[in-house]
C-alpha cells in the first residue's frame, strides 16, 4: 500500500504543467522518431538530450522516457501502413498489420495496436510499481562482489541468448569493455590509453558512440536501400474495430502483456525477442494458424502489446540495479548521471520525486499516446514523404550539433563519425552493435566493483560466489537465460542487426 501512496506523490510531481508539457513533447517526438526508419528511440533521445541540460532532473527524465515509449508506439504505424518498421521491434507487426492494411483494414489494425500498446504499457508500469521498491530494498544489502557478478552475468546472458554467432557477440562485448577502460582510473588516478590528451582523461563519452553506432550507421545503411511505397492514412471513422476484432485480440493482448513484461527484464534485445515470441505463441494457440501472415489481427495485437510491455519492465533493472537492459535505457542511465543522479537501489529512497514522478508520468504518457496519436496518424505517415535528401542530412547535422553540445569539443564529433563507420562495417558483417554499447556503459562499474570486492576480501576470489546475494543473483540470471533459450526453441530468430534502440 505504501507504494501506491508514494505513487500518488509521483502523480503530484508528474501533473505539474511543466512536466505534463515536456511529457507531451517527449511522446510526440518519440512517435515521430519511431515512425521514421533509421531513427529509433536511442537516436531520438540522444538528439534531444542537450535540451534537457537546462531542465530540472525529474522533468528531463520524464521527457526522455516519453521519447522511449513514444518511439515504441510510433514504430507500428509505418509497419502497418507501408510495411516499413520504424524500429526493429515493429518488424513482426509488418507481417499481419500490412496484410490487414492491404485488405482495407488498416484502421482496426492501428486501433488494436494502439489499444494493445496502451494495455501492455500500463500493466507493465503496475508491475514496475509492485516489484521495483522491494527489489531496491533487497539490493541495498548487496555489496560490490554481488553487483559485479550481477553485471557480468547480464553480459553473459547477452552472449548466451544471441541468435547469431556467440563469438561475434562476445567480441562486441569485449570491445565495449576495452573502450570503457579509456580515461583516468577511478581507483588510482592512473591515466589509461589517454595518449597524453585531456580530451580522453574523462574517458570516451557515451553519447557520440551511441549516436554513431546506431544513428549514423543506420543512415549509411539506408543509403543502399530504396523506399518506393506511398502511405495512405485511414480516415478517423475507419479506425473503429469490429466487435469480433476485439474478441479475437483480447487474449492476445493479455498474453502479450505477460510475455513483454518478463522479457523486458532480460538484458539484450528483449523488446525485439518479446515480439517474436508473442507472435509464435499466438500462432501456435490459434485455431486458424493458417491466417497468420495473411492479416490475422492477433498477429498484430500480441506483438505490439509485448513490445510496449517491455518499456515498463525494462525500467526495473535500470532504476533499481542501475543496469540498462537495452541501448535506449543505457541512454536514460547516461542522462541520469549527467543530472547527478546515480540509478540503483538508493534511487527509490534518495530521489523519490524522480522515481515515482517518472512512473506516474508513464501513465500520463501512455494516455497521451492513445488520445492524441490515432487522430494524427495522417500527420505521422506524411513524415515518410520527406525526401531522404533532406531528412538524412538533417538527422546527421542535428546529431552532430547534439554531440557537440554535450562537451563543446569537436573531438566528440570525430568519435561520432568514427563510430558511425565502425557500426556500418560491423552491421554489414552481421555484428549486433547493442552488446558493445551495453558493455561500454557497464564496464567501469564492473571493474570498480571487482577491485573493491577484492580489496574487501583481501584478495580472496571466493567472495564472488560465497555470498547468498551473489548465489541468488546467479540463480535468477540462470532462470532468465533459460527463458530466452526457450524463446529460441519456440522459433525466434533475430531479424537483423538493426536493433536500433
Amino acid at each position: 500500500m505504501e507504494s501506491f501512496s508514494l505513487l500518488a506523490d509521483g502523480f503530484r510531481v508528474a501533473f505539474t504543467p511543466q512536466n505534463v508539457l515536456w511529457c507531451f513533447i517527449g511522446v510526440f517526438w518519440g512517435t515521430m522518431v519511431g515512425v521514421l526508419p533509421g531513427l529509433g528511440p536511442l537516436a531520438g533521445m540522444a538528439l534531444l538530450l542537450p535540451l534537457t541540460y537546462s531542465l530540472p532532473p525529474d522533468t528531463a527524465i520524464i521527457m526522455l522516457a516519453g521519447i522511449f515509449y513514444g518511439a515504441m508506439y510510433g514504430g507500428s504505424t509505418t509497419s502497418i501502413l507501408v510495411r516499413i518498421p520504424g524500429e526493429a521491434a515493429s518488424v513482426v507487426t509488418c507481417l499481419d498489420g500490412y496484410e490487414m492494411a492491404r485488405k482495407g483494414r488498416a484502421g482496426p489494425a492501428l486501433m488494436i495496436a494502439a489499444l494493445g500498446s496502451f494495455v501492455g504499457g500500463t500493466v507493465s508500469i503496475i508491475g514496475l510499481v509492485l516489484f521495483a521498491p522491494p527489489l531496491a530494498q533487497a539490493m541495498l544489502a548487496v555489496g560490490p562482489a554481488a553487483e559485479c557478478v550481477l553485471m557480468l552475468a547480464a553480459l553473459a546472458v547477452i552472449v548466451a541468448v544471441s541468435s547469431g554467432s556467440p563469438l561475434k557477440t562476445a567480441a562486441m562485448i569485449l570491445t565495449g569493455l576495452v573502450l570503457a577502460t579509456v580515461g583516468i582510473d577511478a581507483l588510482t588516478g592512473y591515466p589509461r590509453f589517454t595518449f597524453g590528451t585531456l580530451a580522453l582523461s574523462d574517458g570516451i563519452d557515451f553519447v557520440p558512440i551511441a549516436i554513431g553506432l546506431f544513428g549514423v550507421s543506420e543512415i549509411l545503411l539506408s543509403l543502399e536501400q530504396t523506399m518506393a511505397e506511398r502511405a495512405k492514412a485511414p480516415r478517423l471513422r475507419d479506425l473503429v474495430p469490429q466487435c469480433r476484432d476485439l474478441v479475437e485480440s483480447a487474449p492476445a493482448i493479455g498474453r502479450g502483456t505477460l510475455i513483454g513484461f518478463f522479457f523486458g527484464i532480460v538484458p539484450g534485445v528483449s523488446h525485439i525477442v518479446s515480439t517474436f515470441v508473442s507472435y509464435v505463441v499466438e500462432k501456435k494457440l490459434s485455431r486458424t494458424p493458417e491466417l497468420f501472415g495473411k492479416g490475422a489481427i492477433a498477429g498484430v495485437a500480441g506483438p505490439e502489446t509485448a513490445n510496449n510491455a517491455t518499456t515498463g519492465s525494462s525500467m526495473i533493472p535500470l532504476l533499481v540495479l542501475g543496469i540498462p537492459s537495452i541501448p535506449a535505457t543505457a541512454l536514460l542511465l547516461s542522462a541520469l548521471l549527467i543530472h547527478g543522479i546515480q540509478p540503483g537501489p538508493q534511487l527509490v529512497s534518495d530521489h523519490p520525486n524522480i522515481f515515482w514522478g517518472l512512473i506516474a508520468s508513464m501513465y500520463i504518457g501512455n494516455l497521451i499516446l492513445i488520445v492524441l496519436n490515432l487522430p494524427m496518424v495522417g500527420l505521422f505517415v506524411n513524415l515518410l514523404r520527406i525526401p531522404a535528401g533532406i531528412l538524412s542530412p538533417s538527422v546527421l547535422l542535428i546529431s552532430m550539433i547534439g554531440v557537440y553540445s554535450v562537451s563543446a569539443d569537436a573531438v566528440d564529433i570525430w568519435f561520432m563519425v568514427g563510430s558511425g563507420l565502425v557500426g556500418y562495417v560491423l552491421r554489414k558483417y552481421g555484428y549486433d552493435v547493442a552488446p558493445l554499447l551495453l558493455a561500454f556503459v557497464l564496464g567501469e562499474r564492473i571493474e570498480t566493483n571487482f577491485r573493491r570486492a577484492l580489496t574487501i576480501s583481501d584478495g580472496d576470489y571466493s567472495i564472488f560466489v560465497s555470498g547468498a546475494a551473489a548465489q541468488g543473483l546467479l540463480v535468477v540470471v540462470g532462470c532468465l537465460a533459460a527463458l530466452m533459450v526457450a524463446a529460441r526453441l519456440l522459433g525466434w530468430r533475430r531479424p537483423s542487426s538493426a536493433a536500433a534502440g
Binding site: S54, K168, S394, I398, V417
Partner: protein, 150 residues
C-alpha cells in the same frame, strides 16, 4: 564487392588487433597483483580475451564455406557522406558552426538526394539558419563562431 568471408576474417583480425593493443597497453601499466589488481589488470585481461575471441572469429570465418551473398562496401555515396562528416568535424570549430552546417548540408543533400546544385545551396543556407536559430538562440547551445565570427 568484397568477399563476405575475406571481410569477416579481416573484421576478426581487427578485433584481435584491438585486443593485442589493450593487452600490451595494460602490461605497460601498474598491474598490481592477482589478489589486488592495479589499473593495468583489466585492460590486460580483457585485451587477452578479445585477442582470442577475435582470432576465433577469423578462424570461424575461414572454416565456413564461401558465403553465397557478397557484402558490398563499395557504395560511393556512403564514403562520400563519411568524408563530408569528417570534413565538418574538422571545420566545425575553426570555420564556425554556421558555415560548416551550410556547406555540409548542401553537400549531403547533393550526395544523398541528387538535387540540383542551387537547390542544395538554398537548402544548406536554410538549414544553417534554422540550426543556429533553434540550437543557438532558443536552446542556448554554445556553437563555435570560428575565424569569421559567425
Amino acid at each position: 564487392m568484397t568477399s563476405s568471408r575475406t571481410g569477416e576474417v579481416l573484421v576478426g583480425l581487427a578485433f584481435a588487433g584491438l585486443g593485442a593493443a589493450a593487452l600490451i597497453g595494460g602490461l605497460r601499466m601498474p598491474e598490481g597483483s592477482v589478489a589486488l589488481p592495479g589499473p593495468g589488470f583489466a585492460p590486460a585481461v580483457i585485451g587477452t580475451a578479445l585477442l582470442l575471441v577475435g582470432l576465433g572469429c577469423a578462424l570461424q570465418a575461414l572454416r565456413t564455406s564461401e558465403a553465397l551473398a557478397s557484402v558490398s562496401l563499395s557504395d560511393l555515396r556512403v564514403w562520400l557522406v563519411l568524408a563530408v562528416l569528417a570534413g565538418t568535424a574538422a571545420a566545425f570549430e575553426p570555420v564556425g558552426a554556421a558555415i560548416s552546417i551550410a556547406i555540409s548540408f548542401a553537400l549531403l543533400a547533393w550526395i544523398i538526394g541528387r538535387f540540383s546544385w542551387w537547390v542544395c545551396i538554398v537548402a544548406g543556407l536554410i538549414a544553417a539558419g534554422v540550426a543556429i536559430l533553434i540550437f543557438g538562440q532558443l536552446l542556448g547551445v554554445r556553437l563555435p563562431s570560428g575565424e569569421f565570427g559567425f
